[in-house]
């Protein structure tokens, strides 16, 4: 028993990218452990998904044909049963929003430790997981003192596996206790619609918590006007109700790829970066030279936005 079991993710009929990223990290880890990589697909069009995930490095795909969409009670039960059947050393799960909704429950039910949001995993003497702390300002390594463990994996951290493989595809007959399913997904709703589509803009000026107060927003709006750019923001600005949801960049907002992304007073939290790292040119204005956004920026000004932005408006006139 040195195998890896990775549980894939899909939503509304489509596999999510993290699924083929799990193949990459899972096959690397399986090789280190001297075992094989098993994939679990739970619900949805399992046969089509299995075909799509017949990728290099996967030994066996186990399909659980139960339901169309994610339900955490079903996922928890099915994953625990797959785990019991395959008897792997490491269980890999996505650290997606749905992962947050069932990974801890599975680990708790199986009574195995869980390390979340891994950005690197290795096994030497034991399992060692690298993860961030303090808003990505530091990295830590966590040693797991247990034979068997669960790790949830940060999306978009590993490259997806694209090369085709030839795994066995087996249907797994999970015994789902419907009485224990005490949550029901009744639908989906798209938010963040409206008049502006920030993902269409070629120049985004994006404002974060560094702006401090709603009363300071006109300063940024003046800059937006002077440059004919489009205004976007990090999450706290939207949470505070200062800008509508359709302006939010990031994991739970929009993914944007403008020619220029000017981040003002934004630290560069992972969920923000998920929405803007594909921008052509990234410019950051931030008082903190250690802010994670600096690692991503092509150009940076380490200074107070309340000094730089007025000067920039002037320089553009």
């Amino acid at each position: 028993m040195s195998d890896v079991l990775a549980i894939t993710e899909h939503r509304q009929g489509e596999l999510r990218d993290v699924s083929s990223e799990l193949v990459t990290v899972g096959s690397e880890l399986a090789a280190q452990q001297g075992g094989e990589l098993h994939l679990g697909i739970i619900g949805g069009d399992v046969d089509a998904f299995a075909e799509e995930l017949s990728l290099e490095g996967v030994e066996t795909i186990h399909t659980v044909d139960h339901g169309d969409e994610f339900n955490h009670d079903v996922y928890t039960q099915a994953t625990a049963q797959l785990f019991g059947d395959i008897d792997p050393t490491t269980l890999l799960l996505p650290n997606s929003v749905n992962g947050l909704d069932y990974a801890p429950a599975v680990a708790s039910e199986l009574d195995i430790p869980l390390v979340t949001d891994a950005i690197a995993i290795s096994r030497d003497d034991g399992l060692e997981v690298t993860r961030e702390m303090y808003g990505s300002k530091v990295e830590t390594t966590v040693a797991v003192d247990a034979e068997v463990a669960a790790v949830s994996v940060r999306p978009a951290e590993w490259e997806p596996t694209e090369a085709a493989g030839d795994p066995a595809i087996e249907s797994f007959d999970a015994d789902i206790d419907e009485d224990a399913v005490k949550s029901t997904v009744t639908g989906f709703e798209e938010v963040a619609g409206g008049d502006v589509d920030i993902s269409e803009a070629n120049f985004l000026i994006s404002i974060g918590r560094g702006i401090e107060e709603e009363d300071n927003l006109p300063l940024i709006e003046d800059l937006v006007e002077a440059t004919d750019a489009t205004l976007s923001s990090s999450r706290p600005i939207v949470d505070n109700g200062w800008l509508p949801k359709n302006r939010q960049v990031g994991q739970s907002g929009k993914v944007v790829t403008p020619d220029v992304y000017l981040a003002i007073g934004i630290s560069g939290a992972v969920q923000h970066v998920a929405g803007m790292k594909g921008s052509d040119t990234i410019v950051a204005i931030n008082t903190d030279p250690n802010a994670p956004i600096m690692d991503l920026a092509d150009y940076a000004i380490v200074d107070d936005l309340f000094d730089v932005v007025p000067a920039l408006i002037e320089a553009l006139e």
Binding site: L100, S108, T184, I301, A311
Partner: protein, 264 residues
Amino acid sequence: MKILVTVKEVAEAEDDFDIDGLDIDERYLEFDLNEWDEYAIEEAVQIKEDGDDVEVVSVTIGPERAEETIRMGLAKGVDRAIRVWDDAFADVGMLDPKTKADVLSAVVEDEQPDLVLTGVQAGDDSFGATGVTLAETIDFEWGAVVNALDLDAGAGVASVHRELEGGIEELTDIELPAVLTIQTGINEPRYASLRGIRQAQSKPLDLHELDDLGLEESDLESPLSRTAMYEPESEGDATVFEGSAEETATELASLLRDVGVVEG
């Protein structure tokens, strides 16, 4: 109805800091109420204000220092607070979600809440697992990353929105009793009023040690341990504009013109 809210005091690193061993040197840390928990507290207090006979109790695992944070919750409308601490905690390197959930489940057993609200994650270690681990441990139903909540206590159902990726929300009905992990933006957390702050001073804040909860030191043994902390090597190769605000702004203006996103 009783609502239990888990509240964590989190550490935030200053711009410049040093690492001392396995953590940032405490001189460079500022302690504050966890951002996500602030929304969880507000949600609980709003349910209390909208309903009859709702009690809101907060629970914190934390040293004496955390009482300042706990009082902030009391000032915002929490009725009563529990702080769990014991010298034994100070010796534990890393409290993993399961260990925390075991401690919190002892409090749940005492308090018998109908609803438990936690934050989605703590801003410092971002583990994001305590709430759902607790739910499984105490055999409650649950929902993670909740950004809208409509409680029908009579029917025993919480209708929630779970905020998924990419501007999609999942609508889910969850049977009570339940643990919900609360996402920022679900409400507008209030500022504590002066009156609230005064009242908070006289609200009960009880300390529970391991003994009181029927736990032992060995219950705090965790299979996880932090073995290193370091500043990541900068992968960035940013060109940093140097000089006064006027100078850097001028350079940025010409960059924007060169790239062609502004005219001139």
